[in-house]
């Protein structure tokens, strides 16, 4: 075997990628040829130094969360298409049923009836997303991107990262200190996640703009030992989730709301 050929096969040899015959030929040649042996040593040296240095990057937890939310969202879009299909079909039934006037009347009624229903579907889906975001943030040890108890640090941090400016309040004096914030992903968009603490428990508050909603509060739902609440105010949709009791969470939101209304803008 010539040196040219040997040198060509050096990487395959050291990576164990050659067939048996070639491997034996290589071994025979390398024993007698210091130049090729040196070449092998050089290559092995580099390989060792790369492997030793553990250069591989690990995917950030927030990326994993974003991808999972997007996957869920894309599956949901399909469901929504199906859902609107059902409404269309039920409208057809009405159409067959009676005169034009009745149809108009009925379909109006039907629409008014299905609107809250649709809302409930969306809420249930969102509650599931909010819940899994909360659990993920604790499991993946990625609760906060900005760690600060100071609302004047957290708010500008969000303002710089998002295309909206979420309200940020500290409720430390009421036993719910603000501890930080991070970016999260819900409904296929980036949202602000504010993190509060109640004794040893964490509360995630997700906030994003939602111009369609009037100010309202939904009653607390619970899910696998967690309390979840949704409310809307001043063009923001807000969700809070925690493993504190439902009544404590309701109290927390009441404080948050009062804080806002007492704040001189």
């Amino acid at each position: 075997m010539s040196c040219d050929l040997t040198q060509h096969f050096v990487p395959g040899y050291m990576d164990g990628e050659l067939d048996l015959v070639r491997t034996i030929e290589m071994e025979t040649h390398l024993k007698d040829c210091p130049v090729c042996a040196q070449k092998l040593e050089d290559q092995q040296g580099v390989r060792a130094v790369i492997r030793r240095s553990s250069l591989a990057y690990v995917a950030p937890a927030v990326l994993r969360g974003r991808i999972q939310s997007s996957l869920r969202a894309s599956a949901k879009t399909d469901n929504e298409v199906r859902e609107s299909g059902i409404q269309w079909r039920s409208l057809h039934v009405f159409r067959w049923a009676g005169a034009v006037a009745v149809l108009v009347l009925f379909s109006l009624n039907g629409w008014q009836l299905t609107a809250p229903l649709r809302e409930t579907f969306t809420d249930q889906r969102l509650a599931a997303e909010v819940f899994s975001s909360h659990v993920r943030s604790l499991e993946a040890n990625h609760l906060m991107d900005v760690v600060s108890t100071d609302q004047h640090t957290v708010k500008p941090w969000f303002d710089a990262k998002l295309d909206f400016s979420p309200p940020v309040e500290d409720l430390a004096s009421n036993g719910f200190p603000l501890v930080g914030g991070r970016l999260d992903y819900l409904e296929g968009r980036e949202v602000a996640a504010l993190v509060y603490q109640r004794r040893n428990h964490f509360i995630n508050v997700f906030v994003w703009p939602d111009s369609n909603k009037t100010n309202s509060i939904q009653p607390v739902k619970s899910r696998q030992g967690y309390s979840i609440m949704r409310w809307s105010r001043d063009g923001f949709q807000c969700w809070a989730v925690s493993d504190i009791t439902g009544s404590e969470l309701a109290e927390f939101i009441r404080l948050l709301e009062n804080y806002n209304s007492s704040e001189p803008n």
């Binding site: 990487p11 990628e17 240095s53 591989a56 990057y57 995917a59 991808i67 996957l71």
Partner: protein, 176 residues
């Protein structure tokens, strides 16, 4: 297959390789934010084409998509930069004598120096080294992911390692 079942199967089969996907994207884009964008886009694309996945190495399948997404992205965003075209026939590896200072250079290279040297390599060498040394892929898998022959994989690895060695030596002789 229902949407949920399909998503769950994707999450079980493909998502465990997200670290590998991000790692490759990170070394090709050389930047965290871009790597996240590329890895996310690649995963969503993989999900769209999940029906085409025929079994076999899910990691190699995902990395093929990541790599294509990366190059499309690099082409769009950094036209002047990076993708140094490399003619395998013209660029012969230089044989260097006197190994001693190089051995020292290698031994002394810290992680940061090494990362920088690796980032400066042409993309084709860098990706081969990442797939081989960090992901532990076989030549066959690397050949599939990067769409070249086994021989080319072997020569890219050799040239990549040689270049890396040279640049570490140069770096350290500057430093001392």
């Amino acid at each position: 297959m229902s949407d949920t079942a399909r998503r769950e199967r994707f999450e079980e089969t493909v998502l465990p390789h997200l670290d590998a996907a991000y790692n490759l994207a990170r070394w090709l884009t050389r930047n965290d934010q871009d790597a996240q964008d590329v890895a996310q886009e690649a995963c969503l694309r993989a999900f769209r084409f999940f029906d085409r996945y025929q079994g076999g190495s899910a990691r190699a399948w995902l990395l093929t998509i990541v790599r294509n997404t990366c190059y499309t992205w690099l082409h769009k965003n950094r036209q002047s930069d990076s993708t140094e075209l490399f003619d395998e026939e013209i660029h012969h590896p230089e044989l260097s004598g006197g190994a001693d200072p190089e051995v020292q250079a290698l031994a002394a290279a810290d992680k940061e120096t090494l990362s920088r040297a690796l980032e400066e390599l042409p993309d084709v060498f860098r990706e081969a080294l990442v797939l081989r040394e960090m992901e532990g892929m076989s030549y066959r898998e690397i050949a599939d992911v990067t769409a070249v022959s086994l021989g080319t994989v072997m020569s890219r690895l050799a040239r990549g390692r040689t270049r890396l060695r040279q640049s570490l030596t140069a770096e350290l002789s500057r430093g001392f």
